[in-house]
């Protein structure tokens, strides 16, 4: 996805931004990314449609984490009980009932760790360099739409964005 130029459109509302994305999509322009100060559902829907994304892959990691945790819990509790058979209060050496609590907690713990690590991993965090086109206002009160395009398409794209309600559109060399 290469382009000679990037256009940075900033929007006051996410509605407008989403509209612009849809317009771009119709125009078969998909080389773009957005910035927003909060997770806007509108933008997300529009972007998903463009990219054909389903739900976030974070779910699978969480699932895997949860299973790993539960398994770890089982192995750790039963395994350490068998490692050294100590009778406490006449209970069986490996008494599963009380171990369920540990298994449950470890399932949660590993699931949570899976969620957070996959979130970082999949979002490219920690990021050490800025994405192209980032403006500080995109973290505060503006929605940004950055499109990579060939020089020739710039005018068309700018028009599309302005039609959707872009406050301003800036052209930058990519």
């Amino acid at each position: 996805m290469s382009g000679d130029i990037q256009l940075i459109g900033s929007f006051v509302t996410d509605d407008a931004c989403a509209e612009a994305i849809e317009a771009l999509h119709h125009a078969k322009i998909v080389a773009f990314h957005t910035f927003s100060p909060f997770p806007s559902e509108k933008i997300a829907e529009a972007v998903n449609e463009v990219r054909g994304w389903g739900r976030s892959p974070v779910r699978k990691f969480v699932m895997a984490g949860g299973f790993t945790g539960a398994l770890t819990g089982l192995v750790v509790t039963v395994g350490t009980s068998w490692e050294w058979n100590i009778n406490t209060g006449g209970r069986p050496i490996a008494s599963i009932t009380p171990y369920i609590v540990i298994i449950f907690e470890l399932m949660i713990l590993f699931g949570v760790l899976g969620a957070v690590s996959s979130f970082f991993f999949k979002s490219g965090l920690p990021a050490f360099d800025q994405s192209p086109g980032y403006r500080t206002r995109f973290g505060a009160d503006r929605f940004g739409l950055v499109v990579q395009a060939a020089e020739g398409d710039a005018a068309k794209i700018e028009a599309l964005m302005r039609d959707a309600g872009a406050e301003e559109v800036v052209r930058e060399a990519a």
Partner: protein, 455 residues
């Protein structure tokens, strides 16, 4: 304050949210630092007495047979209980898509973190040999010895540490976009500080997509976790055969109590905070009103639990249990039971009145009473039940000594100090979610989200 809930016609912009957050985090004045120093002093005092306790032994406390658990475990349960409202407000209400949480949840979550940290200290303070507390954690060692996973204390260790990890991660994940925002508008050392903490967040669509899913799943995990943690804490007692504790009702009863005391402490903290930091725009009476309703509801739930406890004991006619409950009411420390009923069951009934629910002063006072009441409840359950145990010859009532009192006060100092410092350096209201909230407000016509200027 005439009307309870007064719609405001002031529309906040995204930048207003930012400005308010920045104002809170503006460089602190002398008063703030004096407050922090005061809290730090209390914490240090508690710490000094803890040091002395470690050095000389637990004998410096008022502990003895048969009340081998008393103030420290009371504090532990109290703080764990406090810790529950945070996750509840942020996670459960997130799952239920309850919008009023946005203004208060960060505050509640922060409270959770520091309450868990404080709570986590108490089992260690309470230990006879605190320097070996890590033996509760399974780790490879030459002795081939591991903890006993049957013990409720091991469950506790796992539950509390999972809870701390989860809520810390939950808070941190939620903080990242806000910190990124702070990074963009700060200068100087703060800029560097926030740059590191923000991990390079930029709010791209890809990031938000994963963020939303991760955040939702964290909330999904936190919800059963929050229920399990306090259930596990309650099983510390319920699995004991000690009369007065050996009861199956404990898990739901403790969870309700935790939410009750947690929401009350959120009120206690947020009422002065919104005043001092001029957050009335963001945290409105409407928020407080909702919190108060939760407090009222949980108060009724625990009143029912108390009644059930007594009923079950009466119904079983177990003489040992009957005697313990008799002593709980009429024994030497029956007044603690009185305080508990007054503060937990009777005083919250005032919250039925919308006028009281909309008065910050009333809410503040009632929330303090609720916290006193919940502390008393744990004291009655723990120290009281152990005092009147199975062997009449071993009955003895417990009176705290200076050490416990100061360590308890110190824990409040420690908690408030951490909270205050956090509020100064990290966004105590969630800017991201509030902006999201504004959007929602705009769409819903601005009526259900009334803003009020400071009166």
């Amino acid at each position: 304050m005439a009307a309870a809930v007064e719609p405001s016609n002031i529309q906040l912009s995204y930048l207003d949210v930012d400005r308010t957050a920045q104002r809170v985090m503006a460089p602190a004045g002398l008063k703030y630092w004096m407050w922090v120093a005061f809290c730090a002093f209390l914490a240090a005092l508690g710490g000094a007495f803890w040091t002395r306790q470690i050095y000389e032994g637990l004998g410096v406390t008022g502990y003895g047979q048969p009340t081998l658990w008393a103030v420290y475990i009371t504090n532990f349960v109290f703080w764990v209980g406090i810790a529950h409202s945070g996750t509840l407000i942020s996670a459960v209400l997130l799952l239920f898509r309850t919008r009023w949480r946005t203004a208060v949840y960060r505050c509640a979550e922060t409270m959770t973190i520091f309450a868990v940290v404080t709570a986590g200290l108490f089992p260690i303070v309470h230990l006879g040999r605190p320097w070996f507390f890590y033996w509760l954690c399974p780790y490879p060692n030459e002795r081939f010895l591991q903890p006993d996973f049957r013990s409720p204390l091991t469950w506790d260790f796992f539950a509390i540490s999972t809870y701390l990890t989860t809520s810390a991660l939950f808070l941190s994940v939620g903080l990242i976009p806000d910190i990124a925002n702070m990074r963009d508008i700060s200068i100087g050392w703060r800029k560097k500080f926030y740059t590191v903490l923000s991990c390079g967040w930029q709010g791209t669509d890809r990031q938000w997509r994963n963020f939303s899913m991760a955040y939702l799943l964290l909330a999904g995990f936190a919800t059963p976790l929050v229920l399990s943690v306090h259930s596990v804490v309650s099983w510390d007692f319920a699995t004991m055969q000690t009369p007065g504790m050996h009861s199956t009702i404990f898990a739901p009863y403790f969870v309700a109590g935790a939410i009750f005391s947690g929401c009350a402490l959120v009120l206690t903290l947020i009422i002065p905070m919104r005043k001092l930091l001029q957050l009335e725009d963001l945290v409105t009476i409407w928020h407080l009103d909702n919190l108060a309703k939760v407090v009222l509801f949980t108060s009724i739930v625990i009143t029912y639990s108390y009644a059930t406890e007594f009923f079950v004991v009466w119904y079983t006619q177990d003489p040992i249990e009957m005697m313990t409950f008799h002593e709980r009411l009429f024994g030497l420390q029956g007044y603690m039971f009185g305080i508990m009923i007054l503060c937990n069951c009777l005083i919250p009934l005032f919250l039925f009145s919308p006028r009281i629910r909309s008065s910050t002063v009333w809410l503040f006072v009632i929330s303090i009473f609720v916290n006193i009441g919940m502390w008393s409840e744990r004291f009655v359950l723990i120290s009281g039940s152990l005092s009147t145990n199975t062997m009449p010859s071993q009955w003895k009532f417990y009176v705290p000594a200076l050490t416990e009192v100061l360590i308890t006060i110190g824990s409040f100092g420690w908690f408030l100090m951490n909270f205050s410092v956090f509020a100064k350096f990290l966004p105590i209201v969630s800017m991201t979610e509030l902006k999201d909230g504004i959007e929602w407000l705009r769409k819903s016509g601005g009526e259900r989200y009334p803003y009020r200027k400071a009166s």
